[in-house]
């Protein structure tokens, strides 16, 4: 049994969807795609609309003041979570994807020249590939990727060669398929040594472990609220103030301007410059509640618990001989998820049979087609855990896999 640094039963009781009366309660193992939400977050969202709702930054009346205060308070909470030096470095976006597009467009559009290199890795999510392709098409920059080895770790032997001509290293902190946690601090040093910036895709790290932008010394960090017990529709771009200050706007519209004539405009300071139009006010406030929820439990405690889950998951999967799982062996650089294949059965069929048993996993390429090319399978099944996952969920997964064997045996 796992000895948790916190009480998983209590945590589960705080997530309404895990409490739904049902003959077949869900063993939710798709948190890497989108997490479930605790009542504290759902109530913060609903309460906002019931008691405080008003547009922000513009009204002088009390509801608007209160909404603005809570919205900016959420920004401060996010800054605290990732140890940003200043709350103004936190920009609210829709999700990780938009955050990366913002940097690709606003920073890339004004800094990339023909022949400049953007360095990615073979394990990137499409959201950290396609935005760079789009800006590369416009600027003539080229893309290059750090390869992975058979254990799903980055091959860094040739990193000095790979870094030649690089202006931006855009890399995931934790792979959403392999679970690999990449050595960001080390790569940051190497990138900075050649004058490159580093953008970290924190979609899978910020929800699961302490991430300190100052300790890592990175330049940009992108993540999504919906993967960290927050609502959909809100994500974060964090960037160094000096870099953000120097960037031209991305989207144009209300709130991001100082002055406007029909012909031309001047732009507001950050973060307003990058938050055009009415923001996702309720969602940002609820993300603030999510951050409070996670910090109350403690990111280090969550990471420690998930580390145990990670070991348990691999141990149990190893009992099923037909299963091949991907990524590094259990250890400090592996998160609590596993993508796998099963001899003779297609991932979609596995996922569907598991669904029949109440076990929710994902099947597909998980938005990582280049990685699946490297793994040499068109798709895989992925089971992913979070702070509310318990060993029983994993046991049900393994029992479900027996059912798969039985049907397809």
């Amino acid at each position: 049994m796992i000895k948790a640094p916190f009480d998983v039963a209590t945590i589960r009781s705080q997530f309404p969807i895990l409490q739904l009366p049902s003959e077949l309660p869900v063993a939710f193992l798709d948190s890497a795609s989108s997490s479930q939400k605790p009542e504290a977050v759902i109530s913060a969202l609903a309460d906002y609309y019931r008691t405080t709702n008003a547009n922000v930054h513009r009204g002088v009346y009390q509801l608007s003041e209160q909404a603005t205060f809570e919205f900016e308070r959420a920004r401060g909470l996010v800054a605290l979570l990732i140890n940003a030096t200043h709350h103004r470095e936190v920009i609210f976006t829709r999700n990780t994807t938009e955050a990366i597009n913002l940097v690709a467009h606003a920073w890339g559009g004004s800094n990339l020249r023909a022949g400049d290199v953007i360095l990615l890795t073979q394990m990137e999510h499409h959201s950290n590939i396609v935005p760079w392709q789009l800006i590369a098409q416009r600027t003539g920059a080229v893309l290059r990727a750090i390869p992975i080895d058979s254990q799903g770790r980055l091959v860094l032997d040739d990193i000095d060669t790979l870094l030649q001509g690089v202006k931006m290293l855009a890399i995931t902190h934790q792979s959403n398929v392999l679970g690999t946690i990449n050595p960001i601090a080390e790569l940051t040093r190497k990138a900075h040594a050649v004058g490159a910036l580093i953008l970290v895709d924190g979609a899978q790290s910020v929800p699961h472990m302490p991430v300190d932008v100052q300790a890592l010394d990175i330049d940009f960090l992108a993540f999504s609220g919906h993967k960290m017990v927050g609502p959909t529709g809100v994500g974060v771009l964090w960037g160094r103030k000096a870099l953000l200050d120097a960037m031209p706007p991305f989207l144009g519209g209300g709130s991001m301007i100082k002055t406007v004539t029909i012909e031309s405009s001047t732009y507001a300071d950050v973060p307003a410059r990058f938050e055009a139009g009415t923001p996702m006010i309720g969602e940002a406030i609820a993300l603030g509640a999510a951050v409070t929820y996670l910090m109350d439990i403690g990111m280090a405690n969550i990471a420690a618990y998930e580390h145990q889950l990670s070991a348990y998951l691999i141990e149990r999967l190893d009992e099923v001989p037909e299963v091949t799982w991907y990524g590094p062996p259990v250890g400090a650089d592996r998160g609590a998820m596993a993508a796998f294949s099963m001899t003779g059965v297609h991932p979609h069929d596995i996922a569907q049979i598991l669904d029949g048993e109440g076990v929710a996993v994902r099947a597909g390429h998980h938005c990582t087609q280049p990685l699946h090319v490297a793994l040499d399978v068109p798709s895989s099944v992925r089971a992913s855990c979070y702070l509310y996952t318990n060993t029983h969920d994993i046991d049900r997964l393994v029992r479900g896999l027996s059912k798969v064997k039985q049907l397809f045996g």
């Binding site: 979609h348 049979i353 029949g356 048993e357 597909g364 798709s379 049907l407």
Partner: protein
């Protein structure tokens, strides 16, 4: 829901009907679902606007392969006007799966239909609207 796999689907998955290729053929159309890597190639021989021979090959999940297998049984002797009438509703009836709310699996089930439609429209020199396959 794993009842979905009982009987017919698993049977056709294990022992597909009309599996293989036709050479020569009048239509040979391959379709691909990038989400999961499923592939279906459908070959037809057509005489006087009627399908006289049919074969499919491919790989993928049980649903896509079994649906292709069942569809090929239906096709023999069908004329091309009938093919144009034959749609999603008919195929879902045929395979008997409740996929209305499951867009991901629906795509699997319809892959062979897509190969059929695209192939036949191409054979007829006509354009197909993507909506016909939704």
């Amino acid at each position: 829901m794993s009842d979905m796999y009982r009987d017919l689907i698993l049977e056709h998955h294990r022992y597909p009907h009309n599996f293989g290729t036709l050479d020569p053929h009048d239509v040979s159309q391959e379709e691909h679902n990038p989400l999961c890597g499923d592939r279906i190639r459908l070959d037809l021989r057509i005489v006087d606007n009627k399908i006289t021979e049919v074969a499919f090959s491919g790989k993928g999940c049980a649903v896509s392969q079994a649906a292709a297998s069942m569809l090929t049984d239906e096709l023999i002797g069908m004329d091309l006007d009938q093919v144009r009438q034959y749609g999603k509703a008919e195929l879902l009836d045929l395979i008997g799966l409740p996929l209305d709310k499951n867009p991901v699996r629906l795509k699997c089930a319809l892959l062979s239909l897509k190969a059929l439609k695209v192939g036949v429209y191409r054979y007829l020199g006509q354009n197909i609207t993507t909506d016909e396959l939704d």
